[in-house]
Amino acid sequence: MSPHGETLTAAGTAPAGTTTDAVPGDPAGTRTDGPARRRRGRWAPYLFVGPAGLLFLAFSLVPIVIAVALSFQDTATLGEGSWVGADNYRTMLSDPLLRTALLNTVVFTVGTVPTAMAIGLALAVALNRPLPGRGVLRALFFVPMVAAGVVVGVIMSWIFNPDYGVANNALRALGLGGLPWLTSPRTAMVTLVLVVVWTRIGFCMVIYLGALQSIPSELREAAAIDGASRWQRFRRLTVPMLAPTTSILLILNVVFSLQAFDVIYVMTGGGPGFSTTVLIQYVFRSAFADARMGYAAALGLLLVLILLVFTLLRQRATKKAEELL
């Protein structure tokens, strides 16, 4: 029952006999809602949810169930396989390439997420003020987000080519000499982080911009009258007010980083050596290059588990922070 009582029940679900609206062909209005109409009304919400539910079932839930089943099988191609119990999970424990991929994933995520969010916030604060060409600047920063990952990867491979790339030519023009960028295991991950941060800051900026504009200006004005400096207003007022947005952005960015595949695949193929091999790449390699569908499914589920644990921890932390406020 609705907390507001029966008056707010959905159309067609009101108690029998209370509706006396005339219907065409029943000018006297003698026809009242019968059990058939009530039944139809009861199904209405399900009909609305139905299409989305079916899509979720077909493209999310069923594949997840299949992936779980596949993770307990040894199969080279989709469809056929033999049950091997927890062998795939046991293999994960002693797989050195998985350890490398996990470590690289952590480095990549830690490198991209806070950097993209911090720059995105700084840009949002800057572009939240009346500036000439503000709209153009906002659009320019957002453009990389809508560019296809493969396109970004190809263009960036050229830009960071140590022999004829724009990046080294610019450095040489400044008399700084070139960098190996993607060709050294020591700089390849940093280069990838730079590229991914560049694609991500526009997204963070737009979300923060929306959140900044929802902070009442009276609060800032009151703080200014009370003598708070610009930095204090930002630190003590703006940042806490942005906490829910930051929380969502953090989760989204971590998800993006764990799923970052195309740019890395195109720019380094996981190399040099194993220096940029991340977990999602290893899943792909296991499935299609190594033809180990069962193992790839187990790795995919590990990725889901990591995301799940992170999201739960983050939600718990946010809840605690809200309770403290």
């Binding site: 080279a76 989709l78 080519n161 140590p162 022999d163 993607l182 050294s184 193929g269 050596g273 290059a289």
Partner: protein, 437 residues
């Protein structure tokens, strides 16, 4: 009394109208689904899938049209293989929607021949065909339990040189396979070329991590092998294989090759780009470089044979045609494969697409290449140096996985992260973990 019109207020008429609408919609959807389901229409329809190379797609369609004209009641559509091959093919096989015929590389075919994804063409392809294929080229499709593909065309690596650089060095260019530069000679020339270009000596024609195998001929040139005689035992830890890794390591340690020119580095054909822009004096690459060099540096380059050491070897490029298990008309599909790989059609396909024929009886004059006939003949001659054991290794059931391992460890060796000895040992161990799965 006038007949009630739907939607004019008569509830009965309106309910009927709605029902009618739903019925019509249902029938339409069912009809549309039936039409899409490929229900038998009397015509035997085949689908042939190829890489997205416009000239090749046109050639296949032209050959297919001839086939259809000779086979009333059939139709053939040429499609494009999209995205990453294994992902594309595995998912389509799982849905039983793979094309009838696929164009597949020697490095990809082994897995699918071994796991029952391809149809045995024995009997459908004329027995005389085998006589016109070299043993290595026939072995790409011919496995112990059947014939799972017919190698249609090939390509391999030879040496491109900058005419100005070679003239300044004053070295004679080999005119036959026997005269091909040995490793030490080649490195000397490359050092001179590096001095003259001021950047690098030469480039190598990799095209991404999936083409790491293009470096494998160097192992065979040094008398080594990727897999043993049984085609299954990893053997990259032999002195010959380690010697080859050492040779490759020197390319980078001496600065003769750009570190951006490795199998796993991105950016496409880096070696080719460096040669086209005059930053290297030599290039080891396949015939695909010709078009790019014609555009960038017409008449400024020449070609000679692939380098060699104790032995000769070159890259195994090209494609076979195979019939998939999804085919509803495998006999007809096999017939089309035989038709496409007939002598006439192989010659025409190679002429239009600038490919090398898999058939031994065809030379450059028979094909009538529109440009660079002597260079194309060098490629055709070089094809005879592709070793059978390398073909068996690359067209074996585990090769896709082994190729990833090869790419990983070549990178580590060439970057100096591992010594050639360590690389050979660790690569062999990693390969063993694949072959013993």
């Amino acid at each position: 009394m006038p007949t009630p019109v739907a939607g004019t207020g008569n509830p009965v008429a309106r309910r009927l109208s709605r029902r009618s609408f739903l019925a019509v919609a249902g029938i339409s959807v069912a009809g549309a689904l039936a039409a899409c389901s490929g229900a038998p229409t009397g015509t035997k329809h085949l689908r042939l899938s190829s890489w997205n190379i416009p000239l090749d797609l046109e050639s296949y369609q032209a050959i297919a049209d001839e086939f259809v004209a000779a086979h009333p009641g059939t139709s053939v559509a040429v499609e494009v293989t999209t995205g990453q091959f294994h992902q594309w093919f595995i998912t389509r096989l799982a849905a039983d929607l793979a094309p009838d015929i696929i164009r597949i590389t020697p490095q990809q075919i082994g897995r699918y021949a071994a796991n029952g994804s391809l149809v045995d063409l024995t009997g459908a392809v004329p027995a005389a065909y085998q006589d016109d294929w070299s043993e290595p080229f026939w072995a790409i499709g011919a496995k112990e339990d059947g014939l799972f593909g017919v190698f249609q065309h090939t390509d391999n690596f030879i040496t491109y040189y900058d005419r100005r650089v070679i003239e300044q060095i004053g070295v004679d260019v080999p005119q036959s396979l026997d005269e091909a530069w040995h490793w030490d000679e080649f490195l000397e020339i490359a050092r001179e070329a590096q001095r003259l270009t001021g950047r690098y000596g030469f480039g190598y024609g990799w095209g991404g991590p999936e083409t790491a195998y293009r470096w494998m001929p160097l192992v065979y040139q040094n008398g080594g092998a990727f897999l043993g005689e049984d085609g299954m035992t990893p053997s990259m830890d032999t002195p010959e294989a380690v010697g080859a890794l050492d040779f490759g390591g020197r390319w980078y340690a001496d600065g003769l090759v750009s570190p951006a020119n490795m199998s796993k580095s991105g950016g496409g054909a880096v070696g080719r780009d460096l040669f086209a822009t005059g930053q290297t004096g030599l290039l080891l690459d396949n015939p695909e470089a010709i078009a790019a060099l014609d555009e960038a540096r017409p008449d400024e380059w020449g070609t000679t044979y692939m380098i060699r050491n104790d032995g000769e070897a070159s890259d195994l490029g090209g494609n076979a045609l195979a019939v998939t298990r999804s085919s509803k008309h495998p006999e007809l599909a096999a017939e089309l494969v035989a038709f496409v790989t007939s002598r006439t059609n192989v010659a025409e396909f190679c002429r239009r697409g600038n490919w090398l024929p898999a058939r031994s009886s065809l030379d450059a004059a028979d094909i009538g290449y529109q440009r660079h006939e002597s260079t194309m003949q060098q490629f055709i001659d070089q094809a005879s140096t592709i070793p059978l054991s390398m073909v068996r290794a690359q067209s074996g059931p585990y090769f896709s996985s082994l190729n990833s391992v090869f790419a990983d460890y070549l990178d580590l060796c060439f970057l100096g992260e591992l010594t050639p000895g360590e690389c050979g040992t660790q690569m062999t161990e990693a390969m063993r973990s694949v072959t013993t799965r």
